[in-house]
Symmetry: none
Subunit: 275 residues, 2 copies
């Protein structure tokens, strides 16, 4: 991507609707470049030519006009009425899911799933909100007959980790990628030959040094009232769900009966239907 191509790309990103109304020549003028550059940019962006980029742009414009605020949702303010809070939150989380899905490396995911499906034992490390995500994963894995733990205590995590060896899997969940309490156990597992997976919003952070496979969660901007934990949690849960379903697919023969068994086991914990 060269400098002038970036200018074009920026202009397009900044105002898709406006650019959709422009011809090559118009867009070239607006960005202070030439028609050739505009066409080249369209190519780089994955379209056969400007014509198609323009069509895509028109689509995008229509979409976000109908969805309205979606992509550009304003931050949640202190004096927003609750109805607006609900709408904005739902909107932001939806965006977060879309971003995560788009940014997830399927080959990494595939590798992680393969390791999980045949693991002797699975450890999931996470602190705070990330620990809840880990527990969610563990609950699901247990239901399909795998052996998994999500120690909430950092000391327990490390003592667990040193029991792992080749054939086991350790998963670290940390948004920042710099949570020592999570990195330490992952490193211990890594050093002992276990397959390690990192679920983080920062694929370049320290935690990935000890991870065989890195799954990237989306890093949505946070606002004062909406701590980062919210969007990172949403993102992490999606990744975790993907892992689970991937494993369930791979081990379908054993997973399916295990799942229905666990349903039945829970049945009598519910009161009979009233109405």
């Amino acid at each position: 991507m060269t400098r002038s191509m970036q200018r074009v790309a920026e202009a397009v990103a900044a105002d898709p609707a406006g650019c959709a109304a422009l011809t090559v020549t118009g867009l070239a003028e607006r960005t202070g470049t030439s028609e050739a550059t505009v066409v080249r940019t369209a190519r780089v962006l994955g379209y056969p030519g400007y014509r198609d980029l323009r069509l895509a742009l028109a689509g995008l414009a229509a979409q976000q006009q109908s969805g309205g605020a979606p992509a550009v949702t304003a931050d949640i303010a202190v004096d927003d009425p609750l109805a607006e809070v609900v709408a904005k939150l739902a909107q932001e989380e939806q965006q977060c899911l879309a971003d995560t899905a788009a940014g997830l490396d399927t080959s990494q995911l595939d590798a992680a799933v393969a390791a999980l499906a045949t693991a002797r034992r699975i450890d999931v490390y996470g602190i705070g909100a990330s620990n809840l995500v880990g527990q969610d994963l563990v609950q699901k894995l247990l239901r399909i007959g795998l052996i998994a733990h999500a120690p909430g205590d950092p000391h327990l995590a490390v003592t667990n980790a040193v029991q792992l060896r080749a054939g086991d899997v350790a998963i670290a969940i940390t948004h920042s990628g710099r949570t020592d309490d999570v990195i330490e156990p992952l490193r211990a597992a890594f050093d002992r030959g276990a397959t390690t997976v990192a679920i983080t919003g920062r694929p370049d952070a320290e935690v990935t040094q000890y991870a065989d496979h890195v799954l990237t969660t989306s890093t949505a901007r946070e606002s004062e009232l909406r701590p980062a934990a919210m969007s990172s949690r949403t993102s992490q849960l999606l990744v975790v769900d993907c892992l689970f379903i991937g494993v369930a697919q791979r081990t379908y023969e054993s997973a399916a009966p295990a799942l229905s068994d666990s349903y039945q086991a829970l049945a009598h914990r519910h009161s009979p239907r009233h109405s």
Copy 2:
């Protein structure tokens, strides 16, 4: 509108997306007419020319693809490739969020928020995956200086519940609305005069008998590989987030400094930035 113009108009109406991909010549051929007729049709439809009709068509196509396909996402199959699993999952969870936001009763939410903001003590009851949601809420409420607990053990929950009285709040989270282990503590709290809230997918289920305020989560269809727990969890988390933000708004004076305090407290638990 002449006969051959009608043919063109019909073709466009029948398959906007397909026609958007066609040039004048292509559309003329497909409809067995001439380019001139296509252009004339575009004029009649209110566009300056075919080019503009085509752009509008692209927009329309994108719009109904985004609004349309979502609702009819196919179930995740055992042999879906991972990339497709990711896409479908993200899609379904997005849909789930949208449904929940649309179905949430703001007045009930507002009442629940009001109760929480002034509560002496808050208890959140949930079992299994719902307990994790409860813990998520508790973690957040603690961060803004409220006193909250999410006992994971049903016995603990009941013994906690009998301590509550007027001015306290109890929240029950159960998708089915029929989980005895959750209903029991809520009932105990209800009987002792605490304000009770139910977060459930079944607003007519037993749990709501003991709830002053009912928050409804969406009940997405589940598939074999995708247990109900997934979508109910997504839905519950959105409701819980809304509660939290609502409370944070109401108690902004005290919530804001409490939030920043908790950030600072965590800062030294992270390793310094490397790169």
